[in-house]
């Protein structure tokens, strides 16, 4: 039982007000103070009802006003007296204000144990209604114009003597826009004094308040934060009341509405800083920042309200990003055919297979040829090094072991189909899959078969080995867990298409992509799917794990970054080709290739492009990163070494 967690917010919404007995407290047509004739109901809130009334004092003219009725639910007469005096004080403060964005207060009185406040009637819509009635994002110029005007009214309120007035309730619903495009703040905290004794908080309104308000700290900076939250809502159309509190930083405006300028985003996010020191100290400071960004971004606000700033100098042509491609390239090495294989670096050598049948060893620093080892067919798989041996599978059906130093052959192991799976080693075993439907375990010293496991399709996925199990994908649409000691199947998990992607294990889960468009997380003991994430095309790229995140490419052209524990999308980056290359992480960057010919380096945390490098052909190869250098092959027949 939790009686004080009723967190439902009833915002002021049009409707028929009723009092506790269920009847309308003021009938249409009734007269207050012999002067204000109730014409309509404008809105109803938890503590108050707002009526449209006609002021009969002006018999010849039709003068409308808004009458706000507050029901004081306190039973104790002393408390009521206190409420009334507080209310009276605030009403007097309001009445003394004179600003176009603040409704004028004409009168207040009590009648029938209720308190009434008579105010200027603002004919228009509030910004929340405007959000509801539209679907598209507001132009940023429009929002900036509103923001500057809201800053103006906050500056006015905060400069009141002897004490600054903190509005405390900035949100789209409290900002009215008249037909004449006048912006007016409504719902000054008059009703707030009556809420003091009410148990539980209406969490629904909480989305706009700053964290320090929950420690009882209310300063003008609270209005700055709430203005930031309001602007965030207006720019992104994401209602903060429906999100986890204080998560604006997890969804910066540009991640939702890319049309916003980075400067405006920075301005909104600074207003939303959790710590007071990091926030704009005043509405005036925020207004300066807004005016500055209008200037520097050469925005034209003349269509919206006032002409805040006209650019006086012609817009400079934005400087093109320096084409740093030549600086990026350390060396490139020409082979005779496509390089689909992914390089490996060991002992100062880059090892990479090529479709020209050769396994190459190149000097890692200068890209000079060291040795090559010829096979009988193209090599699309990637080499694997253990101690002084290099293992490589070829489409000629053989698994070769060659010496790392000079490339001389150590042994050859024959399978009955092309090998496109890359070998992996553990405990003197080399594990590799073949197109002959078998996964093989071969003694790494002598090249003898230890066991083979018959699956139901070609195996092009590269196995992932943990202490006791090899996880591997198969063209028969399954992911297998195979016991390393005997090659028996521990479990197999079904997907809806072939599994070329190679599994990876982290945080107690097995991650793998499938041709059925999904990325899966599987329970390593049972093979049960824990979560899956759907991309728009086949996932043949192999996932890479780093710091709680999973990075994987899709044939749909994007690189995805998912939360490893839940499969939730954190960001994605679109390339112009297919991403079958498997990403690699280093130095806070994620590297991968795309069939659009580029090698990409993105910031791992945000997915922002750091650099990209154009090769002469599609890049299905996966990068290898070693000592600040990215090694990667391209179908333009070259192996590239690029600075990270």
């Amino acid at each position: 039982m939790r009686p004080d967690t009723n967190v439902i917010h009833r915002d002021i919404t049009p409707g028929i007000p009723t009092d506790e007995t269920g009847s309308l407290s003021l009938q249409i047509g009734s007269l207050l103070q012999d002067r204000y004739e109730i014409i309509d109901v404008l809105g109803i809130g938890g503590m108050s009802t707002v009526y449209l009334a006609r002021d009969r004092r002006f018999a010849r003219a039709t003068k409308y006003c808004a009458v706000k009725e507050m029901s004081d639910q306190a039973r104790d007469p002393g408390t009521r007296r206190l409420h009334f005096s507080t209310f009276e004080r605030e009403a007097n403060v309001l009445a003394s204000l004179n600003h176009p964005a603040i409704p004028k207060v004409y009168d207040f009185f009590t009648e029938n144990y209720r308190i009434y406040l008579v105010m200027e009637y603002i004919r228009g819509k509030n910004l929340e209604q405007l959000l509801k009635e539209t679907n598209a994002f507001f132009p940023q110029e429009q929002v900036i114009d509103w923001a500057i005007r809201l800053c103006d009214v906050l500056i006015y309120l905060h400069s009141q003597e002897p004490n600054p007035i903190v509005f405390r309730d900035m949100k789209p619903a409290n900002v009215m826009l008249t037909e004449g495009q006048r912006l007016v703040l409504i719902d000054f905290g008059i009703a707030r004094v009556f809420q003091a004794g009410i148990k539980g908080t209406m969490i629904g309104t909480e989305g706009y308040s700053p964290p320090e308000q929950y420690k009882g700290l209310v300063t003008p900076a609270a209005d700055v934060y709430a203005l930031g939250a309001t602007l965030h809502h207006l720019l992104t159309r994401r209602d903060p009341r429906l999100e986890t509190p204080f998560t604006f930083h997890e969804r910066p405006p540009r991640s939702i509405n890319p049309a916003i300028s980075p400067e405006l985003e920075a301005c909104v996010m600074k207003a939303l800083a959790y710590d007071l020191e990091d926030r704009y100290h005043s509405a005036a400071e925020m207004k300066m920042a807004l005016l500055e960004l209008v200037q520097t971004s050469h925005l034209d606000l003349s269509r919206y309200g006032r002409d805040w700033a006209t650019p006086t100098t012609p817009a400079p042509v934005p400087e093109p990003r320096p084409a740093a491609e030549s600086d990026r390239l350390l060396w490139k090495f020409a082979c005779e055919e496509e390089v689909r294989s992914s390089p490996t670096v060991a002992e100062g050598q880059v090892l990479v297979g090529c479709y020209d049948h050769n396994l190459y060893a190149l000097d890692a620093r200068e890209g000079k040829f060291r040795w090559k080892f010829p096979t009988e067919a193209g090599i699309s798989a990637s080499p694997c090094v253990e101690r002084d041996m290099v293992f490589i599978g070829s489409e000629d059906g053989n698994l070769y072991a060659v010496h790392l130093r000079d490339g001389r052959s150590m042994w050859t192991f024959r399978t009955m189909g092309p090998i496109r799976s890359s070998p992996r080693t553990t405990q003197n075993l080399v594990i590799v899959g073949s197109d002959d439907y078998h996964l093989y375990a071969v003694d790494s010293r002598w090249g003898r078969q230890v066991w083979k496991s018959r699956l139901w399709g070609r195996i092009r996925s590269t196995p992932f080995l943990d202490d006791t199990v090899a996880y591997v994908g198969c063209d028969d649409n399954h992911v297998y867990a195979i016991n390393l000691n005997a090659g028996d199947v521990r479990w197999r998990a079904a997907t809806q298409n072939r599994v070329i992607s190679s599994p990876t294990c982290a945080e107690g889960l097995v991650f793998v992509g499938s041709g059925d468009r999904h990325v899966y997380a599987l329970d390593p003991e049972t093979g049960w799917a824990v979560w899956r994430y759907r991309t728009k095309h086949q996932v043949n790229s192999s996932p890479a794990y780093s710091e709680g995140r999973l990075y994987v490419g899709s044939v749909d052209g994007a690189l995805y970054c998912l939360e490893a524990r839940t499969g939730r999308l954190l960001w994605s980056y679109e390339t112009e080709g297919q991403v079958t290359s498997s990403p690699r992480l280093a130095e806070g960057l994620v590297f991968f290739g795309s069939t659009d010919g580029y090698v990409y380096a993105l910031e791992a945390s945000t997915g922002k492009l750091r650099w990209r490098f154009k090769t002469g052909g599609p890049v299905p190869s996966s990068p290898c990163i070693h000592d600040g250098v990215v090694y990667i092959g391209s179908m333009d027949h070259h192996v590239y070494a690029l600075k990270t």
Binding site: D4, G200, Y214, L484, N485, T526, V530
Partner: protein, 289 residues
């Protein structure tokens, strides 16, 4: 007939010498724990009605001569709402979980492609509860917390909304697996409130997420491998709000038998004032390795 023949056929060839050390061999039996489950719910000493509801189902499953796999579905719901609606909400939630999650669980090793991922099953069970509560709502304030724990072998998968917690106990102490969806926890995460301020904050009962409230519900999921852990505990805030975690850990370590430990936990919450309903589900396990 062929089937039986194939079953009895000898391996074609003796596997050659296997260069794998004895420690690498998976021993049948002993990989998975045996579960001892206890559960108890008590109205406390202040409230007149118990609005908590819970569910504890556990069994074993397996395929062929593979090892028996323990499987458990545990859930606690802490209802909220004005009149008599709190217990209705928690009751609907538990019923929805029992009828939607349990039948959707895989029962053999490997997942057929027709089966849905565990986190989807658990999330959808909570969303089902959410929709059923919203359909029955007469007043908007009916809602409930929900925490579901699905135990599979040596892993626990969780889905939760609200502030009903799941803990595991291991030799280093009690670890909370869930994250309270409460305003004070959020403020604490931001460094705006200290743990001490949280415990006494006037709005410490305010949740920003509850089943049955708001149109869209975000269900949080997480999981943990149970390596090294001895207990899994699910409890409503009637326990963790009153009994310090060190005391909970001490009871789990000293009282043998899950049901007896549940009784001791409830007694400790009542001794500390029993301000709220108290519900505990305790799963004790031994990983025999």
């Amino acid at each position: 007939m062929r089937f039986w023949k194939r079953r009895s056929r000898q391996p074609e060839e003796q596997p050659p010498e296997i260069p794998v050390s004895q420690e690498e061999v998976v021993r049948p039996g002993g990989r998975f724990p045996i579960l001892d489950v206890g559960a108890l719910s008590h109205v406390g000493r202040v409230r007149t009605r118990n609005e908590d509801r819970f569910l504890a189902l556990h069994t074993v499953t397996g395929s062929g001569d593979a090892e028996l796999l323990p499987l458990g579905l545990f859930a606690v719901a802490d209802g909220m709402g004005g009149h008599s609606e709190g217990d209705l909400a928690s009751e609907i939630a538990i019923h929805a979980i029992a009828t939607h999650a349990w039948p959707a669980l895989p029962t053999r090793f490997g997942s057929p492609s027709t089966e849905r991922p565990i986190q989807e099953v658990l999330t959808e069970a909570v969303l089902q509860a959410h929709h059923e509560i919203r359909n029955r709502q007469t007043d908007q304030d009916m809602g409930t917390t929900v925490t579901i724990a699905l135990l599979v072998g040596t892993a626990v998968y969780l889905a939760h909304v609200g502030d009903t917690r799941a803990y595991i106990l291991d030799p280093t102490g009690l670890h909370v697996l869930t994250r309270d969806h409460s305003l004070v926890t959020r403020l604490h995460e931001l460094g705006q409130l200290s743990a001490a301020e949280m415990a006494h904050h006037p709005q410490r009962n305010v949740l920003y997420r509850a089943v049955g409230q708001s149109d869209e519900l975000e269900v949080e999921t997480c999981y943990r491998r149970l390596t090294g852990a001895s207990h899994l505990l699910l409890c409503s805030d009637g326990l963790w709000g009153l009994v310090p975690e060190a005391e909970i850990a001490r009871i789990l370590r000293t009282i043998a038998g899950a049901q007896a430990a549940c009784a001791a936990l409830v007694a400790a919450a009542n001794a500390a004032g029993g301000e709220d309903n108290i519900t505990v589900i305790l799963v004790a396990f031994n990983l025999s390795q």
